[in-house]
């Protein structure tokens, strides 16, 4: 070896050693994810599954990061949103006090609005609500709110499709709409009315009811009046337990004419809802293509973890948590604003696609500064400027013997 080659080799060895030590010296990124769950209150049925979805996402991402040698580690803190905006805001503050860099949840849009206005916009913390109402987009969130769940403008399309599937055609068909007095029902009812009348259908109502009222019989009567071709009831489980019973008591109710949105999607109809109110009814919920490898992996993780069964939008919560971890890796930081700034870089249309099946490689790529297009369990997101997905897959399902059976999947796009 000549002297020149010796120095070159020595220099390369030093550079390599320096490089390695620099990589090893990089501070590990420890990101805390806040789980804001509906453990009590009107949507308490979905809290446990959201909790489980985020937990398995974090465990899986930590394993993938460790295997890929990417120094990112996520942990979780959790709090109960209670179905109440004030309680949800207090819970969100508690999560931030415990170091949460991003918040997954809550499920009810007025809660999300209270949290955004009272906390997360100011602190640039990304909020990943499970609530689907378009009312959320009436606030200026400064790019802090992202949803992996399909917004109701897309669900209205899915409901319309489910109705046409059932009735054959919208033309001249009378649709009776009722909703619980919440932004969720109001927005969905408005979009569905527009979609249905645009197809030549007629709409009766909407009958709007207050969840705290003592009786629902007059409202139920109005829903079944004039023998409509179909009814859409946009409600939460706690009220539907009473409203559903009132519908059956009218004596004119036919559950097979009912179509419900995602808040009334249950693997098994809860015991407090009279089974006759839902038997044969159809519905829509944000779905995932269950034939993909990503979904198979998610289901495998879900079954392995034990505990609660699948519930509506669980895959979306899994994806939200994964996106936060990917963004923290891309930002090399658990800083909330840095995470927010990287979301579009990890869901970039045209970039190399990654999915949960090769999450380790995705983490390596984003750690190296490459933009990627993360396609989650619930599908691709490709967020619009407002942070909502531009395309979403929906399940159309039917209740048979108290169990939910998916009969079809559709893609709803703006």
């Amino acid at each position: 070896m000549t002297r020149r080659y010796f120095f070159l080799a020595a220099g390369a060895a030093v550079a390599l050693a320096f490089g390695f030590s620099a990589a090893e010296a990089a501070d590990p990124v420890s990101v805390t994810i806040g789980k804001l769950l509906e453990l009590t209150g009107p949507l308490s049925e979905n809290g446990p599954s959201q909790d489980k979805a985020v937990t398995i996402a974090i465990d899986y991402a930590n394993q993938a990061a460790a295997a890929a040698g990417v120094p990112v580690k996520a942990t979780a803190v959790s709090a109960d949103a209670q179905g109440d905006p004030q309680a949800a805001l207090s819970a969100a503050r508690a999560l931030v006090a415990k170091g949460a860099s991003a918040i997954i949840g809550p499920s009810i849009t007025p809660e999300s609005i209270a949290i955004a206005n009272g906390l997360t916009i100011q602190k640039k913390i990304t909020l990943w609500p499970v609530g689907t109402s378009m009312r959320l987009r009436t606030i200026k969130d400064e790019g802090t709110i992202f949803r992996t769940v399909p917004p109701d403008s897309l669900q209205a399309y899915a409901l319309k499709t489910a109705l046409i599937d059932k009735l054959g055609d919208a033309k001249g068909k009378l649709l009776s709409i009722a909703y619980r007095n919440e932004p969720y029902g109001e927005g969905l009812s408005k979009d569905l009315t527009a979609a249905w009348t645009a197809k030549g259908g007629k709409v009766q109502g909407p009958v709007v009811f207050d969840p705290a009222q003592a009786t629902f019989d007059s409202e139920a009567q109005q829903v079944v009046d004039n023998n409509p071709d179909a009814y859409v009831v946009i409600d939460y489980p706690d009220t539907f337990a009473k409203f559903g019973a009132a519908l059956v008591r009218t004596g004119k109710y036919d559950a097979t004419k009912l179509v419900v949105p995602d808040a009334l999607a249950f693997s098994t109809v809860p015991t407090n809802i009279p089974p006759q109110a839902l038997e044969g009814a159809r519905g829509t919920r944000g779905g995932s293509d269950v034939s993909t490898e990503a979904y198979k992996l998610f289901d495998q993780l879900w079954q392995k973890a034990g505990g609660v069964e699948h519930f509506a939008l669980d895959a979306n919560s899994f994806d939200s948590a994964t996106l936060v971890i990917l963004a923290a890796a891309a930002a090399h930081s658990p800083d909330p604003a840095a995470i927010a700034a990287k979301i579009h870089d990890i869901t970039k249309p045209g970039a190399t696609k990654y999915s949960p099946t090769n999450l380790g490689e995705a983490l390596k790529a984003v750690w190296g500064g490459q933009p990627i297009d993360y396609v989650g369990v619930a599908g691709a997101f490709e967020f619009a400027a407002n942070g909502d997905p531009t395309i979403s897959r929906f399940d159309i399902y039917e209740y048979k013997s108290g169990k939910l059976n998916v009969i079809k999947q559709i893609d709803a796009a703006k």
Binding site: Q82, V208, G251
Partner: protein
Amino acid sequence: MTVGRKAASGAPAGAPERRLADIPAAAWLAVVLVAAALVMTIARGPVAVGQTTLNGLVAAGYFSLGAVGLTLVFGTLRIINFAHGDLLTLGAYLTFGISALGLPFWPAAALAIVLTALIAFALDRIIWEPMRRARTSTLQLFLVAIGLAMVIRYSIQFFAGSQVRAVGQDVLSSLSVGPFHLGTLQALVLVVGVAAVALVGVALAFTRFGKQIRALADNMALAEISGIDTLRAVRLIWLVAGGLAGLAGVLYAAAIGSVNPNFGFFILLSLFTAAVLGGIGNAYGALAGGLVIGLAQEWSTLFFNARWKPVVGFAILIVILLIMPRGIFGVGRARS
């Protein structure tokens, strides 16, 4: 307290008031409600009006049964018992608790009603009696009642959880006559509600205890001087009010099918409305107030979207109180 007396007695001079006061409040109320029903029947047809009237009567049953204990306590002890709604919840949850020990629902409910009465009695001994002795003001009593309401509600949540609970009774069975339907359990609430109010009213008017309670309500010091055992009368009031709250809670929960620990609190405002509208302190007033609120809210759905239903109830409260500041059964005493 005006129970068992003609509400118009002692009306001051004044031509319009005298004319109003000369008509018994119950007759006056019946005429107005029947006239309203007839006008609506012309506008909306007999089937729609008939069915909403039945629904309104059911709501009236809930409100009256819940309000009668509330109005009894205020009329005699001047306590705005904010915890009354949570006593309803307690009655329902005690039923769940006793049922869990293996007793069938209705015997468990009977036991729960007795237990709720005893708890209301105990609360008097622990809280209200010392406050009475200390001559605590109405405002302070009100604040204590709010605190007590929260203690009861969150204790229920602590022990029973805050999730929605299915009562397990058949809420789907209904009685049908022609085009009209009424849930069987709803009919039961209606019958029991009317019976309970009538029983309280009759007991107050005609029994020795009733007379003592009325005397106590008018002037506690004078009643005491007259030799009435006011302590015993007050304890009886709490037992009756607690038992009625337990009964209302159990029946309401059974008829609506599922409850959470907030249900008594949610319905409390309607109970206050019924009690105030009927004339606070008057057992028949609770029935009249419940009837007006229940019917007006359900009838309003014939003309307006149901989302305005709660607004209608409170708008009527304001209008009636503007005309009759002491409520329907307090008409003649407005300026006494």
